[in-house]
Amino acid sequence: MSCHWRSGEAPSDPAGSSEFAEPFAEKEAPLRKPMPVTLTDSAQQTPDSSPQIPTGDSTTDNSTDVAPTRKERKTRKRPEPKPPVEVQETQEEKPKVEEEPVKAPSELTVARGGWGYWGSWGKSLMSTASATVATVGQGITQAIEKAETSLGIPSSTELSAPIREEDKQGGEPSNETDKGEGDGASAMGSAMGMFSSLSSVVQSTGKTVLTGSLDALEFIGKKTMDVIAEGDPGFKKTKGLMIKTNTLSQVLREAKEREEHQTAEEVSSDTEKKAHYGMLFDEFQGLAHLEALEILSRESESKVKSVLTTLSGEELAQLKEDLKLIKEPFSLVEFDDEEVEEKKDEDGAEFLRELTEALDGLHISTTADKLGKVSKNACDQIAQMTKPIKEEERNEEEVAKTYTVENVHSSAIKSLAELTARSIEQFHKVAEMILLCTSQKVTTLEQAKILSQITIVLCKEISLLSKKFTSCLTTIGSNEKGDVLNPLITGVFLEASNSASYIQDSFQLLMPVLEVSHIQSSADSNQQ
């Protein structure tokens, strides 16, 4: 349980390297720094040398792609505030980690999520990190652009070789060396705070992108991407980001405010209307719902804490056990991008059906109407935008209604912002209803599981929409130059990745709410 790597991922590592794992991790550790450079080089060559992989064919590279994707998700996962016993033991000299529930999760991810091997290059990381980030960043940018230009998947043997090596170090050793390296990792984690998880993401980002799938971009976190996109060598901005951004709504608010200022500055000089995700998200009241959800979450959290202090003995043990179970679905969100098929769900009906079904299971009065509408609108827009292109030659009247790539991009960003805002609204409403009425028909644990399912459904929809929009972009922009089209495609994937992160982070906010609900309902049943 201390390790999040699933043994099921092993097949993705055909070399079966587990027996080499430990020596490898030790020996290779000092070499890790230049690694990204090597990867960058091969990434640049690959699209030219191996254009044979057809677009969007996800099945062929499944074996290499699945694992990094899943790992990527792992870094986003927030384990429960209390670290597992063995980590606790090694953290004695750094008790602060446990006292700071806000910081602790990200740090613990480092210790538990399989980044244990980072500990082996320990403290020198601080100085090298910035350079590494920059290099990886450039590599990725180039890889992305190459990938976009060809829209093929640059997956080849040259690429998969270094990746497998990474797997050996990244995946397997953490299983075996967890305890040994836990010390270094957690100590470092507490010292480095968020950055260690940032660089972890960067690291696996490199992997994911290089394994080939452009879709993987969806999983790159906002903060990471800021670093990557800027190739920020000074690391100062990243640091600023770490200090500045405490809550999710703060991240979003800052994004919005930044955009507002940009817009304000550009009014005179730049007539081009650009779609601003943050501003749109706020316009759809996503920020407000998020803040309200945060309020409820914080309040519930302190309620749970105060209840725990009033209990003792068996009662306390029982409650702790119950809460542990409720927490579980929150750390098990696994969203496999591979399952998202573009062809499926042309009009968003499938999404609505899945979501409605899940929401019904919660036994609270809430509907999927608003979300369903957003997804349907988006699908309608895509259908409309792609239609005239196909019929252009035959139907002269249709020609009048052509769409530019900017139109598609705006529509994509708007749809993503709206869907995310509505998703968070949905979670907010769910939180309110769960706090209001304890249902006899369903246990809190079941509700937690359903909500994690809903999170997956929502992220899948985000992913699906971004795929639809980008393929729409490539269709409409087939005559555009790469330097016009590529940033737009990247933009859509980026915001989709952000959207998925925001949705998952909001889902996490529901945990204390469910805990309170559980305490309420068990108090109710005791009284009867």
């Binding site: 906002k222 991407m225 800021d226 996109a229 800027e230 901005k237 600023g240 980001l241 500045k244 800052e254 994004a255 405010e257 930044r258 955009e259 507002e260 200022h261 940009q262 817009t263 304000a264 209307k273 650009k274 601003h276 995700y277 943050g278 501003m279 009241q285 407000a288 719902h289 803040e291 309200a292 309020i295 409820l296 309040e299 907010h428 409403k429 309110e432 209803m433 706090l435 209001l436 330097d483 016009v484 940033p487 990247t490 933009g491 980026l494």
Partner: protein, 213 residues
């Protein structure tokens, strides 16, 4: 896209169920009268820009709370981050007027350590024939609590703008005089000016494009 504003004020709208909170807000933000059939669940959000002085715009973020008693435990949590509030009662419903005191107490106890500038609103003033609360009586009560009093009608669009702009003006004066401060961790008042410290991916894509062109 209208984006430039000096401050953002968060306002909360409270009062008994069915006094017309959502209708008033939607008249103000959407400019139309909507016959809202479903009672508000928890809280809903609306926003609008108001120009209080030429060139000086303020963004109002309005939290429309559920009036129903059963939501009280939740809506309570939302008071703290508001700088101002509209306390509504229905002039044709005496009971809703009698509850004004209770609402104020509720708000004041949950807004600590901050304070809220309230405006008392006698709503549905188009229904003069059914009036149960006189204007003097309401003004007296408002005065006792140091509030302004405005009578409004969402259906006939009477005083809706006035209610919101007067409240906004009052808060603005308090912000200018320094009686209300922008505070870290409090969402009541936010400044529109934020130094551009963090760089977004969008900026980068843009500058990239420029370089390549």
């Amino acid at each position: 896209m209208e984006a430039i504003w000096l401050y953002q004020f968060r306002l909360i709208v409270i009062g008994d169920s069915t006094v017309g909170k959502s209708c008033l807000i939607r008249r103000f933000t959407e400019g139309r009268f909507v016959q809202v059939s479903d009672p508000t669940v928890g809280v809903d959000f609306f926003s609008r820009l108001v120009e209080i002085e030429p060139g000086k715009r303020i963004k109002l973020q309005i939290w429309d709370t559920a009036g129903q008693e059963r939501f009280r435990s939740i809506t309570r949590a939302y008071y703290r981050n508001s700088v101002g509030g509209l306390l509504l009662f229905d002039i044709t419903n005496r009971h809703s007027f009698q509850n004004v005191h209770e609402w104020l107490e509720e708000a004041r106890s949950h807004v600590q350590p901050h304070s809220i500038v309230f405006l008392l609103v006698g709503h549905k003033c188009d229904l003069e024939s059914q009036r149960q609360v006189s204007q003097q009586e309401a003004e007296k009560l408002a005065g006792a609590y140091g509030m302004r009093y405005v009578e409004t009608s969402a259906r006939d669009a009477i005083n809706v703008e006035k209610a919101f702009t007067e409240l906004t003006q009052d808060i603005f004066e308090l912000v200018k005089s320094g009686d209300i401060n922008i505070q870290e961790g409090w969402e009541g008042v936010k400044s529109g000016f934020v130094p551009n410290v963090v760089h977004s991916s969008e900026e980068v894509t843009k500058s990239d494009r420029r370089c390549l062109c």
